[in-house]
């Protein structure tokens, strides 16, 4: 969408798009190991129902999915399959890495056949620690993802550079910007080295129940 790329989308329309994107998240279940059962308990059980957050676990093919919840151990033999399925998903896509196996290899940190963390393969938005994390932890991860989508800047997402998103999250922490991205006080001009520094850095991943990873 030309308008979006050049970042001249009017703010209320961006807000509406972000809201609709965050409330209708079609999830593609990527159940690998024991975390898949906790993910199934979160997605498919009446007690921790995820559909009330607007996350619909219906699609069976990656083409119709918005975000993928990688839950379980990713082995070296499985890594290319994870990569291909991530590429099959249409563009505004997000990823939650659930469980310590997906985060960093977990109890198999010294195994010869386990990839130490799925973020070596696909960019991850939210990490949910735990082995296996409780379904409530996954729900909190999804809520955090929804908040990130609500405050997201469409242009950055489509242009692929995370500059504006990172700047906004930092600005939000610094208190210059309120939750909806409106400036509280005088806007600071993004200096060239800030832009250059930001380009090289991945967005701050959110860790459920903990600060960003040092």
């Amino acid at each position: 969408m030309g308008l979006v790329d050049k970042g001249r989308l009017p703010a209320p329309l961006t807000k509406l798009f972000n809201m609709s994107r965050s409330y209708s998240l079609w999830v593609y279940q990527w159940g690998l190991a024991c975390c898949a059962i906790e993910m199934g308990a979160a997605f498919g059980s009446p007690r921790y129902d995820v559909m009330r957050l607007g996350v619909i676990p219906l699609p069976a093919s990656p083409r119709q999915a918005d975000f993928v919840c990688v839950s379980g151990t990713v082995t070296d033999k499985m890594a290319p399959a994870v990569k291909r399925l991530w590429e099959q998903m249409p563009e505004p896509k997000y990823a939650i890495s659930m469980g310590s196996c997906a985060n960093c290899g977990g109890p198999y940190w010294d195994s010869y056949s386990v990839t130490k963390g799925v973020d070596q393969i696909i960019p991850i938005d939210v990490y949910v620690p735990g082995c296996p994390p409780r379904p409530e932890a996954l729900l909190e991860g999804i809520v955090l993802l929804q908040q990130r989508i609500k405050n997201e800047d469409m242009a950055a997402k489509w242009r692929g550079d995370e500059f504006t998103t990172l700047q906004r999250t930092r600005a939000m922490e610094a208190g210059e910007v309120d939750r909806d991205g409106e400036l509280i006080n005088e806007p600071t001009e993004p200096t060239p080295e800030m832009a250059q520094a930001a380009d090289s850095v991945q967005p701050e991943p959110i860790v459920v129940g903990g600060g960003p990873i040092e």
Partner: protein, 389 residues
């Protein structure tokens, strides 16, 4: 064993598939691979099958997508650390994985858990079986296309997970076993709560019985599909409900002397002559009911006394080899522990049930329709961690 006509039919179908394989295929067969990520397989099993139209002529499962190298990791860990690792093999009934390993270590050290610990171990063993098989019963519906039963299964399974969490602290990776007994005793009020939860599970079994097993479409999809006669089941080493469904009257809980207290409760071992998918699922349903019976009976016979024998703080298991196998929810799971007197085991051979249960798939899937591939796999009921270790 007289072959029922259904078994002859299945033989003829597979022979026909064989014949077609040898004769030059005039229609260029299509190779379809199901998996590695596929909604039907419980995780990452990939099956390559060559189709002739809708019929599978040749099928070969490719395992290894979940291989985490357990046997190598156990060689560099101490005994208590291995139990943490080992209860992630069959991640649905994960307390059941620790028990045979701990029993093998206790056999090597020639010590035995006190009677109270044995009864509590048996109760928790049966509770993890109920948790495992109840999800299987719910998931059976999803494989066949009925969406609702899985929600019933997850809802009722939560009661059991609460119990296990109450007693051990972990929802389903409890790590509650120690060499020589248990970590600590049951919390207050746990026994009454268990009785209530087990009653709910019996109601769950009845609802699944008439909601799913009573459904004509379900029966027409399951009966007479994927028939495995007893001698072929023994040849491949099928165990658990898959073996009993082919008429093999063999249950490790009853047929061998291991220090678990199954003889305190009276319960029945179910077998079924047909050996088809329906029999396997039906037997698992009856076994869940039996487990509920065992738990309710054992709850009244928990003896008083300590939960842990006198064991030195840092355990050095004397030199020797031991083999212990128990009746896990998926089948016979056994550990062959070789110890050289160190803190950790020298070699642990993990005999997991699903590895043998799935090795029969190339034989069972010959001459079968594509939808039946899913039925047979669902009825064999494997867990990926169990196959790939």
């Amino acid at each position: 064993m007289t072959l029922t006509d259904r078994q002859q039919l299945s033989y003829i179908a597979s022979q026909a598939a064989d014949a077609r394989l040898n004769v030059e295929l005039e229609t260029e067969g299509m190779t379809l691979n199901i998996g590695p990520q596929h909604p039907a397989t419980h995780g990452t099993l990939r099956i390559i099958c060559r189709l002739d139209g809708e019929q599978v002529v040749w099928a070969e499962p490719v395992a290894g997508y979940m291989h985490r190298g357990y046997e190598k990791l156990t060689e560099v860990r101490t005994f208590p650390q291995v139990t943490t690792l080992v209860n992630r093999i069959d991640w649905l009934g994960s307390f059941a994985n620790e028990v045979p390993f701990i029993l093998a270590a206790e056999k090597l050290m020639e010590i035995e858990a006190p009677p109270r610990a044995q009864v509590i171990r048996t109760i928790l063993f049966e509770l993890s079986r109920i948790a495992n098989v109840s999800l299987f019963l719910g998931d059976l519906g999803v494989q066949m296309g009925a969406i609702t039963p899985v929600f019933l299964a997850f809802r009722d399974r939560e009661y059991i997970l609460n119990l296990i969490e109450g007693a051990t602290g972990g929802r389903f990776h409890p790590n509650f076993d120690r060499i020589g007994g248990l970590k600590d005793d049951l919390p207050k009020g746990w026994i009454e709560e268990t009785r209530g939860a087990v009653k709910k599970l019996e109601q769950f079994c009845d609802t699944i019985d008439d909601l799913l097993f009573g459904n004509e479409i379900f029966q027409s999809r399951m009966r007479g599909i994927g028939i495995i006669p007893a001698d072929i089941a023994k040849d491949y080493g099928l165990s658990g409900a898959n073996a009993r469904a082919s008429g093999i009257d063999w249950d490790l809980r009853r047929d061998q002397d291991i220090p678990l207290s199954y003889d305190l409760a009276d319960w029945k071992v179910w077998t079924h002559p047909d050996g088809d998918s329906w029999a396997r699922c039906w037997i698992r349903l009856q076994e869940t009911r039996e487990s509920c019976k065992i738990v309710t009976q054992l709850l009244d016979q928990i003896p008083a006394g300590p939960v842990m024998t006198k064991v030195p703080r840092i355990i050095k298991v004397p030199e020797g080899e031991a083999w212990v196998s128990t009746e896990n929810p998926l089948g016979e799971m056994g550990y062959y522990v070789v110890s050289k007197g160190g803190l950790g085991p020298f070699r642990v051979k993990i005999r997991s049930a699903s590895f043998n249960n799935i090795s029969i798939v190339p034989w069972a899937l010959k001459g079968v329709y594509v939808p039946d591939v899913i039925t047979i796999l669902a009825s064999l009921y494997f867990i990926l961690g169990d196959i790939d270790r």
